[in-house]
């Protein structure tokens, strides 16, 4: 009970912090819309070609954009954590009896919300452009990707606490971002690439999230791909939450 209350208190604190900086709300929404506006026409010319699934180009593309949004919504957490370390906020909260997991969850839940809300807007716009919505699949896809945001957010917080420096965190996150997203087939399916690329892709946990999101976006729910996607993403989220909580236990400037 106390734990739930504390998580809610921290969540509200974080949500308020975000709403006070509308810049983040705006860029959180404008980036995926720019993808839709600028990347979709590019993709349209290769749609239907070899290696690309059949169907409307948006049906292939939208789950990828949403996964990118989920990734972006979570990965920003570490920056604020470092700022909170430097201003002593975390130290002060660590001397209170508050649960460390609740402290972490405040940020994680906020990030999940900041993925879901703009995500719904993007879906609405995509439908207008011809994306065919399968409601049950879409709902499950949001659940899956919200778990993925949680994994990214907790990882980013843990990284921020251990690296302590904005510069180091930026280097690690941007260094990891490109191989992670490329090797997950987020924007272009990996089936377009050679064998070794596909092998590498299978070592990337994010690959399974994207595969499952594609299936769910197409409305196919009861596939092994979806089950594996949930299993991998859920495990990643659990591990990241454990790591993040452990980091909060020791957080020190």
């Amino acid at each position: 009970m106390t734990f739930a209350l504390q998580s809610e208190l921290f969540f509200r604190r974080k949500l308020l912090e975000t709403l006070r900086q509308p810049v983040w709300v705006i860029t959180g929404l404008s980036t995926p819309l720019l993808y839709l506006a600028l990347f979709e026409p590019l993709l349209r010319s290769v749609a239907g070609g070899s290696g690309l699934p059949a169907g409307h180009v948006l049906d292939v593309f939208v789950p990828g954009i949403l996964t990118l949004m989920a990734f972006g919504a979570g990965m920003g957490a570490g920056w604020v954590v470092i700022w909170e370390l430097d201003s002593g906020v975390i130290e002060r909260l660590r001397v209170t009896p508050a649960s460390r997991l609740a402290l972490l969850l405040g940020t994680v839940l906020r990030d999940m919300a900041m993925f879901v809300l703009p995500g719904v807007v993007v879906i609405g716009i995509a439908i207008g452009f011809g994306f065919s919505a399968h409601w049950a699949g879409l709902a499950l896809m949001f659940v899956l990707l919200a778990f993925f945001t949680a994994a990214c957010s907790a990882t980013s917080s843990a990284l921020g606490i251990s690296l302590k420096q904005i510069g180091s965190l930026a280097a690690v996150v941007t260094g990891v971002q490109l191989p992670l997203t490329l090797l997950s087939g987020i924007l272009l399916p990996l089936s377009l690439g050679p064998e070794w690329l596909r092998v590498l892709g299978h070592l990337n946990p994010m690959y399974y999230t994207v595969q499952a999101a594609r299936d769910l976006g197409a409305g196919t729910i009861t596939t092994t791909t979806v089950a594996i996607g949930f299993l991998v993403t859920g495990t990643a989220a659990a591990l990241a939450l454990w790591w993040g909580t452990r980091s909060y236990h020791r957080a020190m400037t």
């Binding site: 106390t2 209350l5 504390q6 208190l9 604190r13 308020l16 912090e17 006070r20 900086q21 909170e84 430097d86 201003s87 002593g88 906020v89 130290e91 002060r92 909260l93 660590r94 001397v95 209170t96 009896p97 508050a98 020190m252 400037t253």
Partner: protein, 344 residues
């Protein structure tokens, strides 16, 4: 029959140790520290930067596990039952800790709820503190816009919100202007008068001297002297003579060394154009010093007996002045072995 009971203890630590790895080298920040703090006192923890003050404080406030030793704060074991300690202590860190992106009121309300107050109780407690610390004019504003003094007031309010038995303040007046500093001192005294034990670290001599009821001086990770400021100054300093020469010679270092080896003199230090001597016998040393200065052709403009300061205590214990203890050891002050024996 009345039995005198020992005063109740707020903080007790034995043999605390903590080392950090810095570039593959173990640096011992706290090395065998013992501490006893009586309830209801302002306890000053004085030492130069890097002496181990903050590390000790972090161990006592459950932020950092010690490598060895034990500590009890407000009746609970810091290592074994940190949650109990957390309920009973307040902490205002060196970095402050107010959330810059929230308003002062939001900061207070969240802190109150984290200590288990209901929404209604939290609101009325926040209101009380806003009045007590005179935060009303800006409590609705985001903390990022506060001045240094306003921010510090809010942070102290956050630290005492749940009426802790022991309040820890880490260098609370660093960066404050004299007026805010005086205000904070008054608040700390009021807290003590209302029964709170205050544990405060500082590297300011006057702050330790004027504010603390009891004082421990720390250097290189352990306590080197303990007592009331008055006791410490009396016990360690003996007589202090200040001589102002008409003109100081070029080689201050050799003058310092010569003076320190003169009879009846424990330490000699040249500071701001005057020579400060800690002596065992004021009358006889005065004569020796005058004749030595005369030999060197140094005319004396003024000479006086001075009140010993806490710096004299630190100087006597470490051979360094606390004012420049951050700098490399030696040079600034010379110390004589014989003097130590006389003092003991």
């Amino acid at each position: 029959m009345s039995v005198t009971q020992p005063p109740p203890v707020a903080i007790q630590a034995h043999g605390l140790r903590k080392s950090f790895r810095i570039k593959d080298q173990a640096v011992e920040a706290v090395s065998g520290l013992d501490l006893t703090v009586t309830e209801g006192q302002i306890f000053g923890f004085l030492g130069p930067n890097g002496a181990g003050k903050t590390t000790t404080l972090r161990i006592l406030t459950t932020l950092l596990p010690a490598d060895a030793g034990e500590a009890f704060v407000a009746g609970a074991d810091v290592m074994r039952s940190p949650q109990q300690v957390r309920r009973r202590i307040g902490y205002v860190g060196q970095l402050g800790g107010a959330d810059g992106s929230a308003t002062g009121l939001e900061n207070l309300l969240l802190q109150a709820r984290l200590y288990g107050l209901t929404a209604t109780a939290a609101a009325s407690r926040a209101k009380e503190l806003i009045e007590l610390f005179d935060l009303g004019a800006f409590a609705g504003r985001v903390v990022r816009t506060y001045s240094g003094g306003q921010r510090r007031r809010l942070e102290v309010a956050l630290g005492i919100l749940h009426n802790p038995q022991v309040l820890f303040l880490d260098e609370p007046t660093t960066g404050l202007d004299p007026q805010n500093r005086a205000n904070l001192w008054n608040q700390v005294r009021q807290l003590r008068d209302s029964g709170t034990t205050v544990f405060l670290t500082t590297h300011y001599l006057d702050e330790a001297d004027q504010l603390s009821d009891q004082l421990a001086i720390i250097d290189h990770g352990h306590v080197i002297a303990e007592g009331t400021p008055a006791q410490l100054k009396q016990r360690y300093s003996g007589d202090t003579i200040v001589i102002t020469p008409a003109e100081l010679p070029g080689s201050l270092l050799s003058l310092e060394q010569d003076l320190a080896t003169a009879p009846f003199i424990r330490t000699a230090q040249i500071q701001d154009g005057s020579i400060r001597l800690s002596v065992t016998d004021a009358t006889r040393s005065m004569a020796a010093v005058f004749s030595m200065l005369a030999d060197k052709g140094i005319a004396v403009r003024a000479a006086s007996l001075a009140q010993p300061s806490l710096d004299d205590v630190f100087l006597h214990e470490t051979g360094r002045s606390l004012r420049d203890a951050g700098e490399p050891v030696g040079g600034a002050a010379a110390k004589k072995q014989a003097g130590e024996q006389v003092a003991a």
